[in-house]
C-alpha cells in the first residue's frame, strides 16, 4: 500500500479538518460536509436541502451567481454540492497550486450564500424540472421509491426532493434550514492531494475560525410508511428492486457484511451476475449494494428485465438470496479480497476519492481508517465468518418493489419462508 499520513485538526468552534498529503498527484480535492441533509429538513418540506445546495452555488460573498461560477472556472475548480440523507456535501478538485485561492471561494459558498429572491424562484422551477425528469427514468424512480419503503421517515426522504412538497418551500424555509444546519459543529472538511498540512490548517483557521453555531437538534424518527409493491409505468422493461436489512459501517460485523454483498454482486463472477445473467440471460443489469446510513443499513438489489421474463427474474433472484450463506466458498472470498486490494490501491491514486473517504470515515466511525488497516481487515476475513454472517443475517422478509406495466406475484413485504 502507498505510504499514508493523515493529519487531524479540530477547531475551537467544532469544525473538523482532516488532511491527507499525497506526493504522487498534482491535484488537491476538498470534501466539505455540513449536517444539512434531507433528514434534517422540516416535515412536509422535502427538497429544502436540494434547493439549498443549488442556492449556495448561485452567489456568495461579493460574487453573484455568474461571478461565482466564473471565479471557480478560472481557478479550474470542478465542484458539486449534493444533498444526502444526512449531509449536504460540497466536493471540489483542482490543481494543487490553486487550492489556497479555491478555498477562499469555497468558504464563501458555505458561510456567505446570498440567497437572492429572484434566484430562488428560478431554482425552484429548475428543481421541478429535475423531479419531472426522474418520472421518465423508471430505474432511477424505482431506487428512490425502494428507499422510501425500506427506511422509516425521515431517513427515507428522497435526496432529490419531492414534487408534492416543492411548491410549499419558501426562501424563508431555506434560510431557516441554512441557519439551523450549516454550522461549524458537525462540519467536516477532508482535503487530500499535493498539499502542506501546516499551511492548510493555518489557512482554514483564518477562513473558518470565527464561524459560530450549534449542532442542529437530533433527528426524530417517525412511523413508517408506504409498503406498496408496484408502480405502474408504460416501460419496455420491468424494473425490480429488492431491499433487506444488513449492518451499517460502524457495526463490528461490517466487513463480514461487506464481503457477503461483494460475493453476491461484486465483479462478473459474482453470484447474482452468474446465476441471473450469465447462466439464464434474464437481464442485462443486475446488482446489489450495501447502503449504510449511520445506525442502520440495507442491501439494495436491482434487476431490469423485459416484462415477459420479469417474474422468472424475480423468482430466481429471490431464490439466490434465500439460499445464500453456508455455501460461500474459499475461492469466492479470495476473489473478493483481490478486488478489494486493487480498489484500495487505485483509490490511493486519486485525491478526489481519498478526500471523500476521509469525511465518510469520520462520519461513520469518528476516525480515519488507513488503506493498510482496511486491507488487513479484509485479508483477515475467513470463509467461516462470512458464512456465519450471511446465514445469521439472511433476511426473513424482503421489500420488493417493481415498476412496469404489470405487477409481479411477489411484491411488497415478501416472506422468505413462504417461498421455499
Amino acid at each position: 500500500m502507498p505510504e499514508q499520513t493523515i493529519v487531524l485538526h479540530t477547531m475551537a468552534n467544532g469544525v473538523t479538518l482532516i488532511i491527507e498529503p499525497m506526493a504522487a498527484v498534482q491535484s488537491a480535492a476538498v470534501t466539505l460536509q455540513l449536517p444539512a441533509g434531507v433528514s434534517h429538513e422540516a416535515a412536509g418540506k422535502n427538497g429544502t436541502s436540494a434547493l439549498l445546495g443549488e442556492m449556495m452555488l448561485r452567489g456568495a460573498g461579493d460574487l453573484d451567481s455568474r461571478g461565482l461560477s466564473t471565479a471557480l472556472d478560472n481557478l479550474g475548480v470542478h465542484h458539486s454540492l449534493s444533498p444526502g440523507w444526512f449531509h449536504l456535501t460540497l466536493s471540489a478538485a483542482t490543481v494543487a497550486t490553486r487550492l489556497p485561492e479555491a478555498l477562499v471561494l469555497l468558504t464563501d459558498i458555505v458561510r456567505k450564500p446570498r440567497f437572492d429572491a429572484d434566484q430562488f424562484a428560478n431554482c425552484r422551477i429548475g428543481r421541478e424540472q429535475i423531479l419531472r425528469s426522474i418520472e421518465d427514468e423508471p430505474k432511477q424512480k424505482l431506487m428512490i421509491e425502494l428507499k422510501r419503503r425500506c427506511y422509516a421517515p425521515p431517513y427515507n426522504r428522497p435526496v432529490e426532493g419531492s414534487l408534492k412538497d416543492l411548491e410549499g418551500i419558501s426562501l424563508d424555509d431555506l434560510s431557516q434550514h441554512y441557519q439551523r444546519c450549516c454550522v461549524p459543529q458537525g462540519a467536516v472538511i477532508g482535503i487530500a492531494g499535493r498539499v502542506d498540512p501546516e499551511q492548510l490548517i493555518e489557512q482554514c483557521e483564518k477562513l473558518f475560525g470565527d464561524w459560530e453555531g450549534e449542532l442542529p437538534p437530533p433527528i426524530t424518527e417517525l412511523e413508517p410508511r408506504d409498503k406498496s409493491g408496484h408502480l405502474d409505468h408504460e416501460s419496455t422493461q420491468t424494473h425490480i428492486g429488492i431491499a433487506y436489512p444488513t449492518v451499517p459501517v460502524r457495526h463490528p460485523d461490517y466487513y463480514r457484511a461487506w464481503a457477503a454483498v461483494s460475493i453476491l454482486s461484486g465483479g462478473m463472477s459474482s453470484r447474482l451476475f452468474t446465476k441471473v445473467r450469465e447462466e439464464r440471460g434474464l437481464c442485462y443489469a443486475i446488482g446489489a449494494s450495501l447502503n449504510s446510513l449511520r445506525d442502520r443499513a440495507r442491501v439494495l438489489c436491482y434487476a431490469g428485465t423485459t416484462n415477459e421474463r420479469a417474474q422468472e427474474t424475480l423468482d430466481v433472484t429471490l431464490q439466490e438470496l434465500a439460499n445464500y450463506g453456508d455455501d460461500v466458498t474459499e475461492s469466492e472470498l479470495s476473489r473478493c479480497k483481490a478486488r478489494a486490494k486493487s480498489s484500495l490501491i487505485m483509490q490511493g491514486e486519486s485525491a478526489m476519492s481519498r478526500s471523500g473517504s476521509l469525511v465518510r470515515d469520520w462520519f461513520h466511525l469518528g476516525r480515519i481508517t488507513t488503506l493498510d488497516e482496511i486491507r488487513d481487515r479484509v485479508d483477515n476475513l475467513t470463509v467461516e465468518e462470512v458464512r456465519e454472517f450471511a446465514v445469521n443475517n439472511t433476511a426473513q422478509q424482503f421489500q420488493v418493489l417493481t415498476i412496469g406495466p404489470e405487477p409481479l406475484s411477489c411484491q411488497g413485504q415478501v416472506d422468505l419462508g413462504a417461498l421455499e
Binding site: V77, R132, Y284, S342
Partner: protein, 408 residues
Amino acid sequence: MKFEKVVLDNGLTIVGEINPNVHSVAFGFFVRTGARDETTGVSGVSHFLEHMVFKGTETRTAADVNRLFDEVGAKYNASTSEEITLYYAAILPEYFAETFALLADIMYPSLRDDDFNIEKNVILEEIGMYDDMPAFSAYEKLMESHFRGHPLSQSILGSVESIQALTADQMRQYHREHYLAGNITLAVAGNIEWSEVLDLANQHCQHWPAGQTERDITEATPTGGTIVIPKSGTVQEHVAQMSPAPPSASPLRFAAEILSVIVGDDSNSRLYWELIEPGDAEAAELGYNDYDGSGAFMTFLSCRPEDTARLLAKIGELYDDINQNGVTEAELEQAKNKVASRIVLRSERPMGRLSALGSNWVYRKQYRSVEDDLNTLHQLTTDDIAEMLKQYPLGQQSTVAIGPLESL
C-alpha cells in the same frame, strides 16, 4: 512519463505511456471496428460480439473468464461505439502478465452456439433497458436520421429484429474479417516495464492473423429533418439535435471542443445561463462528437413539453449569435482554465490516460502527452474558433424529440 511504440510483424500496433509514479497499470485492445463497419444483415453484431468475447475460448469457459479477471482484482470491461470496440483492464502491476494473457487469449473466442443463444437474451434486455431511457433513445434515433445514407447511421445495439435474426455463423464470419492484427492497437498506460509489455505481446499476440480492413471515411452530408416520437407515459420532452462538425483528424477539432464547452457545458456556459439558470430546462447542453471523416455538434434539451418550441428557437438565436459574433476573449480564457484542470485531473490515473492514448493512435497515429494537450489548449484563440465556425457553424439541422408531444 515515457512514450513507446512498436509494430509487430502481423501489424499489431503497441503504444505505451510508462509512468513509474503511479500504482496501477491500464491496458486495452482498441479494435477498429464498430457499428459503421457492419453490413445491413448483421446490425448490432459488433456490440454482441463484444459480449461474446468474454464467453471464452477452447480452453476457458465463460465462468473461467469471469473468475480469472476477478481473481486478480481487475477493473475490466469493454465498450462498442460506431467505430471502435475496446477491451480494457486496470490492474496492479504484479498481475499484469496473467491479466494480459487472459485478455489477449479471449480476443479470439470460440463463439459457441449455446453461449451465443443465452447471450442473445442479454443483448435484447440491454436494448430494452435503453428503450426506457428517453435521452438515450433520442440519441440513437438522431444518429440514424442525421446520418441517413451514411455508415454512421448504423445502430450500435441493433434492433430486436436484427438481433433475433443474427446467427452465430454470421458473427464468426464478422470476427474473422475484422479482428485482424492490423485493425488492432494495444495501448498500455501506467506503472509497467516496457520490455515486459513487449515480451507478453510477442508471446500472446504474434500469431494473430495479419491484415487490415478498409473503411470508407467520406464525410457525411446530412440533409436534416425533424422526427417527433410521441411516447405515452412520459412527462418531459427530450430533444436531441445535430449539425456537422470537424472530423476526428481535423486540426479544427480543438476549436470545436472548446467551443462546445463555452456554449454548452453543464455549468457556466451560454446554454446554462440562458436555459438552465432561469429554470426553463432540466438539461441544455452542446457536445462535440468526432468520428472518422465526419463530426457532429449535438444539442440536447430536456424541458416541459409546452416550452419546447420556444426553447429550441432560443437555442437557434443563440447559435446564430455565436456564428456571427464568435465568443469573447473572457469566455475563451475561462473555458481554457476549466478544461486545463479537467485534463490534469483526468490524467492522474492510468485509466484516465488509456482512452486518450489509444484514441489518439487509432484516429490520428499520434502520441499526445498531457503537456501537448495543455499547450494546444493554451494556444487556441478566438480567431481559431471563428475560423472553425466558418466551415462548421453551429446549427439545428436534424432533430429528434421523444416525449408527450405529437409535433414540434
